[in-house]
Symmetry: C2
């Protein structure tokens, strides 16, 4: 089975601070996706919200970010190791990410069961 | 929806180096489990193998570990950010973990579809 083992490094191949936010799919299964996201000062555009049909579990592993949950007054500040579980349809936006270093997120998206 | 948002810190509440390996469930869904594992020098007992019916995606976030895949000559060495995808029934064992600091793993276990 050894040849089926895949390996990688979440902190390798980080894009430059000046480049765009980047999404890398690490694993995709029916109903499940694991992503690495690298941000460099980006935020969700004003007035836009994420409003996903599935649950999301997300952790910041490097850098810092602020995530605003609809109905909360201030963004939740996340640093390395800090995670959030965002249930399906929980409207949220990334208020800010570190401008002076990459922010590395690991996100697990759980799709709703097919109906 | 804000009250449904759960939050935590993977690097908080780390057990002492002298204590037992610890498993904390961060999320459990049908077919999916996200776990934090903290090791302190432990290894899989000699002659024992993990041989799980589901796939596992696992990353070391702090510390170091060696994971031996059956059929490979040497353990794969994992440090912070380094991950493995271990397909179902891939026999593997933890050969070693750092003795002088906690090793923090994040594991995503994907159960096989119910038959």
């Amino acid at each position: 089975m050894a040849s089926d083992v895949a390996a990688g490094d979440l902190f390798a191949d980080l894009p430059d601070a000046a480049s765009e936010e980047r999404f890398d799919s690490l694993l995709a299964r029916p109903g499940l996706r694991i992503l690495r996201i690298v941000s460099n000062g980006q935020a969700t555009p004003d007035g836009e919200w994420y409003d996903q049909p599935g649950d999301e579990w997300v952790v910041v592993l490097r850098g810092r970010a602020g995530v605003l949950i609809e109905g909360e007054g201030e963004p939740r500040q996340l640093g390395p190791g800090e995670y959030l579980f965002l249930p399906a349809l929980c409207r949220h936006r990334v208020a800010w990410t570190s401008a002076d270093e990459p922010t590395v997120w690991l996100a697990v998206h759980i799709e709703p069961a097919a109906s």
